[in-house]
């Protein structure tokens, strides 16, 4: 936002659980109209951050503002939330649950009919008690309850878990449409392909510490390239001495795989001079590779 455009603004968020660290000095801003991914393996602090954003836990330090207001004072009807490990009221029918949550939200469920159709939830399905639902159906109801009142901010904790591939596809398309409408999405996931596919920016959290917040394309541009070289002669591959800052990941006969920081590109090309090259593939890293780089604690990645 300029702060006028920030939907979520987290500053110095710290939460400890006894001796165990939850999150430490986490800070990020989610802009209006973007899909912001929050990445980390289990136990890294993703859910704790979401809890702090939603006001479910009280941080020891720091603050979160949503739509410019402290998390404890915001109008929650502007938020839709799909919890991780979703749990619903099993004795209610789907219809009862959606009506009840709509009544609590105090906003008409304008999107409900369209969402039910989109996620193939029939009227008969909704009249059955939730305890008889499959995991996928529960997840669909979880998505509908979060979106039915047309919230401006969606907070999603591992939202595609339990959805079949078709429904996942539908769900990602829906998120894209929401972004196009100017809605904001904060999504936590450990499925990197999911995040890479839909997010504009990501934050990566490790052991409770935020290690980076960046646009995915910028992250990829900044990260070391993977270079696959196929020499005409095997000797060239084994004899190749990488320039400083470049690492050899694999040597396999005439093939050589290097990790090359962007600023070492020219040096590497120079190092190839005088050798006969049969093939050369220069690849941008995937988000998964970037993520693993951060998790290995490689300083070159930052």
């Amino acid at each position: 936002m300029s702060s006028a455009e920030a939907v979520i603004d987290a500053v110095h968020l710290t939460k400890r659980y006894g001796r165990r660290r939850g999150i430490e000095d986490v800070a990020f801003t989610v802009q209006r109209g973007e899909i912001f991914g929050f990445l980390g393996p289990n136990g890294a602090g993703k859910t704790t951050t979401i809890r702090a954003v939603l006001g479910l836990v009280h941080p020891h330090h720091g603050r979160v503002t949503i739509f410019g207001h402290p998390a404890s004072e915001i109008d929650r009807s502007r938020i839709g939330f799909v919890p991780g490990e979703l749990s619903l009221y099993e004795r209610m029918t789907g219809a009862q649950l959606l009506d009840y949550l709509a009544a609590l939200t105090r906003r008409p469920p304008l999107r409900r009919a369209a969402l039910l159709e989109r996620f193939a939830l029939s009227r008969q399905d909704l009249l059955r008690p939730i305890r008889h639902y499959s995991r996928g159906m529960k997840q669909k109801v979880g998505v509908v309850q979060a979106l039915q009142h047309d919230p401006e901010l969606l907070v999603l904790d591992e939202p595609a878990e339990g959805l079949d591939p078709l429904m996942q596809q539908e769900f990602y398309e829906l998120l894209g449409e929401l972004r196009a409408e100017g809605r904001t999405v904060f999504i936590s996931s450990h499925l990197l392909w999911e995040v890479e596919r839909i997010c504009d920016r990501v934050a990566i959290i490790r052991d409770g510490l935020l290690v980076t917040t960046e646009r995915i394309d910028t992250l990829r541009q900044r990260s070391p390239r993977r270079v696959d070289v196929q020499f005409a002669q095997a000797d060239d591959a084994t004899a190749f001495r990488p320039p400083e800052g470049v690492t050899v990941e694999r040597v396999d006969g005439v093939r050589l795989t290097l990790r090359v920081p962007v600023e070492r590109t020219a040096t590497v090309l120079d190092a190839f001079a005088g050798r006969q090259i049969a093939d050369l593939v220069w690849e941008l890293p995937s988000l998964e590779e970037i993520f693993l780089t951060y998790y290995r604690g490689d300083p070159d990645a930052r």
Binding site: Y17, R51, F81, P83, L88, L104, R106, V155
Partner: protein, 266 residues
């Protein structure tokens, strides 16, 4: 808050109905037993019991041998006590700690309803439930004695006994609400509340056994609840009712504050 209260009441109705039906059925059975045995059989049996057991039954001055005394004993019967305690403990434990444990609380707390309203709706439903059970206790008595022609009994005195029961078990519910507000597992919250209630009952009983133990009375909720005395007097001791209501109000308010301030890790 209305939607939240409606949901809680709706899903409590069936359990509450079962509790109330059990109370009325038990009243009916006890009246039939009394009629069948008669005072000629009951009297000698009661006189043979050790003083400690007679104190437990509230048979001071052979109260149990009058129809009113016997029916007043019903209020203190362990079965009725268990029912009157079980509802507020089970409901309050399941409603807050249970929802945190099942993680369903996240669906509510991320909506425009404050934690105070959530805890308040639990307190209100628990209060309505306890009041309904105590009304069933009195209403069942009125109907059963009329059907069986049992009596004469002073129904007004029993209405005071039922009202004081509501105050006592509202206090039990308040303790359960407080325990539930602080816990993240229904079993733990219910266990703490049940242990408190049982300890309170035992303290009152032990205090009746010997003057040496009389000091325990002041630590027991049940010391301030004497339905047999209420029926005998035809009215309540207001200071006792005030203590029970004070405990109830204090624990409910404390429960609401605790739930408002705690972390909900779901």
């Amino acid at each position: 808050m209305r939607a939240e209260l409606r949901r809680r009441l709706w899903f409590t109705l069936r359990a509450l109905g079962i509790y109330c039906a059990a109370i009325v059925l038990f009243e009916y059975l006890l009246v039939v037993v009394y009629e069948t045995l008669g005072t000629q059989t009951l009297g000698p049996v009661l006189q043979m019991l050790p003083p400690g057991i007679q104190a437990l039954l509230g048979n001071e001055n052979a109260r149990l041998l009058t129809p009113e005394g016997f029916l007043a004993f019903l209020f203190m019967h362990p079965f009725v006590l268990v029912l009157l305690s079980a509802f507020p403990i089970a409901f309050a434990s399941g409603a807050l700690a249970g929802e945190v444990e099942r993680r369903t609380i996240a669906l509510i707390l991320t909506r425009p309803i404050s934690r105070r309203q959530v805890a308040g709706s639990v307190a209100l439903t628990m209060t309505i439930g306890v009041a309904t059970m105590c009304a069933a206790l009195w209403g069942g008595l009125a109907v059963v004695t009329r059907i069986r022609g049992f009596g004469p009994i002073n129904l007004v005195a029993f209405s005071w006994a039922a009202a004081s029961a509501a105050a006592a078990f509202w206090a039990v519910g308040g303790v359960a609400l407080l325990s539930s507000a602080a816990a993240s597992e229904a079993g733990r919250a219910g266990g703490v509340s049940a242990a408190f209630t049982l300890a309170s009952y035992v303290a009152d009983y032990v205090a009746k056994l010997s003057p040496h133990w009389a000091w325990l009375k002041r630590y027991s909720l049940f010391a301030y609840w004497d339905p047999q005395g209420v029926v005998a007097r035809g009215g309540v001791i207001w200071s006792d009712v005030a203590v029970l209501l004070g405990v109830a109000v204090l624990t409910v308010l404390l429960g609401i504050v605790v739930f408002d301030r705690r972390d909900v890790a779901v």
